[in-house]
């Protein structure tokens, strides 16, 4: 490899030799391809090919039970625009996203800041806040389904006891409270992760910054807004991107806690992923579901590019 690098360093005087050099390099580095080959084969078989195949499927009426899979052109994409269920599911997904992410970011940062000063039993606190993260999502959903039980759930019992509500809430069975209930459960499950990432970010901020600000007479709130928050911007952006992609794919909680319900126009908790799942694996409309999946992909892609450009601009500034 040292040899290869030395060659690369030498200024490329002749363009003619380029191809020959590359071929030579490839021959020298055949073990690199050998090491890569299992990964590459799997990668192309299960990432690249499905991505292309999915696009192909989305132009067909592809029922897994029917032998005929007629080509329908853009019909699936056109249907999507008039599919009130799908449009409602976009709204529900946005509701979920806007409900969870700010709460998770704010609470994660808050707990991290509280823990970052010399706190006794840091390990114990960290474990307690992190426990929900290691709890399997299916289990977390089961626990909270019971917490939200109208007659015997913890939520209603303690809210009534402390006179915060006058009569039991229906939680998962009411169109108004079902989504907030799912959001709360998701925040509970996720905050520990945000806390740990923010703790790592906080500890990378040089202490001198705070000391200098303190000397200049900046109070704790000013120090928080002028030092902590801007210094954590890269961490926040990282968390924002991964939580956005995660939120758009929310599924398990919905499947277990509400099944997309409560029943009503579109179901108050039917998210995009749940809608795609039902189209593909309950109604077997694979072609339509593939088109829906591509729409989801496009939404995420636009958001990711926008995020990435924002991130780059921040990094340059």
């Amino acid at each position: 490899m040292a040899v290869a690098e030395a060659r690369a360093v030498r200024p490329a005087t002749k363009r003619r030799g380029y191809l020959r050099r590359k071929l030579h390099e490839a021959r020298n580095e055949w073990t690199a391809y050998l090491f890569l080959s299992p990964g590459l084969v799997l990668f192309f078989a299960f990432f690249v090919y499905p991505l292309i195949f999915s696009f192909w499927i989305s132009f067909h009426e592809w029922d897994i039970l029917q032998p005929q899979k007629p080509f329908v052109g853009l019909q699936n994409y056109r249907d999507m625009l008039h599919d009130t269920g799908f449009i409602a599911s976009i709204g529900h997904t946005l509701y979920f996203t806007v409900g969870t992410i700010p709460l998770e970011l704010a609470m994660g940062l808050g707990i991290a800041v509280l823990l970052n000063a010399q706190v006794r039993a840091l390990g114990l606190f960290r474990t307690m806040y992190y426990l929900p993260v290691v709890t399997p999502l299916v289990v977390a959903s089961i626990i909270w389904k019971w917490v939200y039980n109208t007659d015997y759930g913890l939520a209603n019992y303690y809210l009534l006891k402390f006179h915060l509500i006058n009569q039991p809430l229906l939680w998962l069975s009411s169109g108004r409270t079902a989504m907030p209930a799912v959001i709360l459960m998701t925040v509970w499950k996720g905050v520990g992760f945000y806390m740990i990432v923010y703790l790592a970010g906080l500890q990378a901020i040089p202490a001198q910054l705070y000391e200098a600000a303190e000397v200049d007479g900046a109070g704790p709130f000013k120090r928080f807004w002028r030092i902590t928050v801007p210094m954590l911007a890269p961490t926040t952006l990282f968390l924002l991107i991964i939580s956005f992609i995660g939120s758009f794919q929310v599924f398990t909680q919905i499947f277990i806690m509400t099944q997309g319900g409560p029943p009503g126009p579109g179901g108050a908790t039917t998210t995009i992923m749940y809608y795609i799942y039902r189209s593909a694996f309950v109604f077997f409309q694979m072609g339509y579901a593939a088109a829906l999946a591509y729409a989801l992909f496009a939404m995420l892609l636009i958001f990711s590019i926008w995020q990435f450009r924002y991130y780059m601009r921040q990094a340059e500034a």
């Binding site: 590359k22 010399q118 913890l154």
Partner: protein, 330 residues
């Protein structure tokens, strides 16, 4: 001493960047005011966070039916393991109505075996294939390297579930498996088998990326010296790269195992035989179809969570490191 060691390791984990010291609070000159408030908030928050979890544990230890009484009982008055016994004795949950095969042969223990088998196979596979690829991307120069690397990075943006519909169709048409002929027609292929849960998951661009970032910090001199001494590429990988990448490998192993232990979507779509049911799928079908046996369900939830908690407590430091490794590279 323990903390400074952690700090050292973390510093080692993030080459180049300012080394963050995990779990080492910055030294303050003087005690801060409002210390009591700080603890009050932290303790109140911790109680709220731990409460649903604690309720799961206490409910699992109480007689069936106690959950259907108010007020909620936090400390079991008549502790019993009956629910656990019932749960582990369940064979073939009624929920599996869509399968005709193997009725009555699968027990709950089988779910745990399936989950453990799939998670550990995928974890070992990913460690091996991803570390091989990561080493090439980190330390070798070869044509198409950057193209392939950025192709991998780009697909990390693609939500995994977008490819699940085509993958399902591909799996259904794997030739010569599950009653398929050589053209992949006639049977169900890899659907409803271990293959479908394991093979597509054996490589992950994310693991490769994480390992590659870490392996870049291995000094080139070490590798070149070994090469001069006539070590084969595989020997360099095995004797130098792998031992030096241990912290990153541990982080990837923990994340991968955890991810596949709790994976629900894959088994839900691909698996219909009771004998291939995994723990999350089994529990989910139980709750969706079997609406009354909540105490038994809670004991099942406890058993399903226990391995994750043990892994977390044993590898807590690695967990925390792994997450910061992930976060700071973003």
């Amino acid at each position: 001493m323990a903390t400074s060691q952690t700090a050292q390791e973390i510093g080692h984990l993030s080459p180049g960047a300012a080394a963050p010291a995990i779990a080492v609070p910055r030294r303050r000159r003087r005690p801060k005011p409002g210390r009591g408030v700080r603890y009050a908030i932290l303790i109140a928050g911790a109680i709220i966070f731990i409460a649903p979890f604690a309720y799961m544990v206490t409910s699992s230890l109480q007689p069936e039916g106690r959950m259907f009484q108010n007020p909620p009982q936090w400390i079991p008055t008549q502790p019993t393991l009956e629910n656990f016994r019932t749960f582990l004795g369940i064979s073939n949950i009624e929920a599996h109505t869509n399968s005709q095969a193997n009725v009555g042969t699968a027990t709950v223990l089988r779910w745990f075996f399936n989950s453990f088998f799939v998670s550990s196979t995928v974890t070992f596979g990913q460690l091996f294939f991803s570390s091989l690829a990561a080493y090439c991307f980190a330390k070798r120069t070869f044509p198409l390297r950057n193209f392939l690397f950025f192709l991998g990075l780009a697909t990390m943006m693609v939500p995994g579930q977008v490819t699940i519909i085509p993958t399902y169709i591909i799996m259904k048409h794997i030739p010569l498996f599950g009653g398929n002929d050589i053209f992949g027609v006639g049977g169900h292929g890899w659907i409803d088998s271990y293959w479908v849960l394991i093979v597509p998951s054996l490589v992950s661009p994310f693991s490769i990326f994480l390992l590659r970032q870490y392996m870049r910090s291995i000094p080139d001199e070490l590798i070149d010296a070994a090469r001069v001494d006539g070590a084969s590429e595989f020997k360099i990988y095995r004797k130098i790269v792998i031992p030096l990448s241990w912290p990153a490998l541990a982080a990837v192993a923990i994340f991968t195992f955890q991810f596949f232990w709790e994976d629900f979507y894959g088994p839900l779509i691909y698996i219909s035989s009771p004998s291939l049911t995994t723990v999350p799928l089994g529990l989910a079908l139980f709750v969706v179809k079997n609406r009354t046996a909540w105490s038994v369900l809670m004991s099942g939830s406890v058993v399903a969570t226990l391995p994750m908690i043990v892994v977390f407590l044993v590898f807590q430091r690695k967990f925390v490191q792994g997450i910061s490794l992930q976060g700071l590279k973003g």
